[in-house]
Symmetry: C2
Subunit: 207 residues, 2 copies
């Protein structure tokens, strides 16, 4: 009779509205300055109502978190056609930094914020992140197999490279770059990425 389907659809729409509104407020006022009441106010519902759609605040945050991973993975997949794994790695680095710095709130939630990762290990919900990690790992693996990287420890290299880009992003997002003027950050990051790729990777003739 279709009415149950509609109910379910409306429920999902409401969930989406809450998530969307929460994200708007996150960007506006910063993640920790957004209360359930503020979200409820904005959609003209009572605070208690939110709890018929989400178990708690953490579940809202987790939903946004997952959305972020979808976005990142979609970006990574634009590199599917890049044949040379070194070129792919270089582009992925730039793309990753771009994503982090242009979506600071998403990135924060995904990779920095406290109290988000804990619940994830409970469920097997890391999958959505695992996809992105594997995409990087496969590229590193290809680099090693084709002799571009002289280190057989795929996991160590992958983690190191991830740490490298994440580290810069995290330091910038969490405001730990007081030692350099704001306007130099971008070129410094570019310089660092360049340094990484010219030094970590063997040039063609050496393999």
């Amino acid at each position: 009779m279709g009415t149950e389907d509609r109910k379910e659809r409306e429920k999902q729409e409401m969930r989406q509205l809450i998530i969307k509104t929460a994200m708007q407020l996150f960007i506006e006022k910063g993640m920790e300055n957004v209360s359930i009441r503020a979200i409820a106010d904005k959609i003209e519902y009572s605070p208690g109502s939110i709890y018929s759609y989400f178990k708690d605040k953490g579940e809202i945050i987790h939903a946004i978190h997952t959305e972020g991973f979808e976005k990142l993975y979609a970006l990574q997949r634009t590199l599917d056609d890049v044949e040379n794994p070194v070129e792919k790695l270089a582009q992925m680095g730039r793309l990753y930094m771009k994503f982090a710095l242009e979506n600071k709130d998403y990135y924060d939630l995904m990779f920095i914020a406290k109290g988000v990762a804990e619940k994830i290990t409970e469920k097997q919900e890391w999958e959505v992140g695992q996809r992105s990690y594997n995409y990087l790992r496969d590229t590193v693996q290809a680099c090693i197999e084709r002799g571009y990287i002289n280190d057989k420890n795929v996991d160590a290299v992958t983690f190191g490279i991830w740490g490298f880009v994440h580290g810069m992003a995290a330091l910038i997002i969490r405001g730990r770059c007081a030692m350099m003027p704001e306007e130099f950050i971008e070129q410094t990051v570019n310089g660092s990425l360049h340094f990484m790729y010219t030094h970590l990777i063997n040039n063609e003739q050496s393999r």
Copy 2:
């Protein structure tokens, strides 16, 4: 007549007691689960009293933050006698990771936590961190000057190397390493550090 000196000393002792107690509770129950009331309880004072010694909670956190930087800098200075800048860089990397992973709460406060860095830019209180940064930068500079690193952009290289170690530390501390089993983390980090130093640095004969 000395009584003012004593007053001042007692005030400082009280400040220290509060900081010490706060740190204890931070380690015990995690940074965000420590209330002013809990600290007050533990030292058998009223919550309000804390505010005669610290402007607000942020000032307590900031004091611990500064303590952390003292500890880190002291560690770095143990490398003063290492002549070879490459060796010094390698050791500094290991030492930095060790500090981060053995003092997760300090490290979190110093380099990850939100709401700590903001107040620092207000004052010129970044100095204590700047010292540590310069210590790294000077070492990188020496590496470049002696031809161990083929990149003239000192700041980019320094930031990149810092990002590299910070990134790994931050991912571990904030629980973003679900893709690898707990017991492999240490050896992976060691592998990454090794990868970094064997690839970023020219070997002796090439300079």
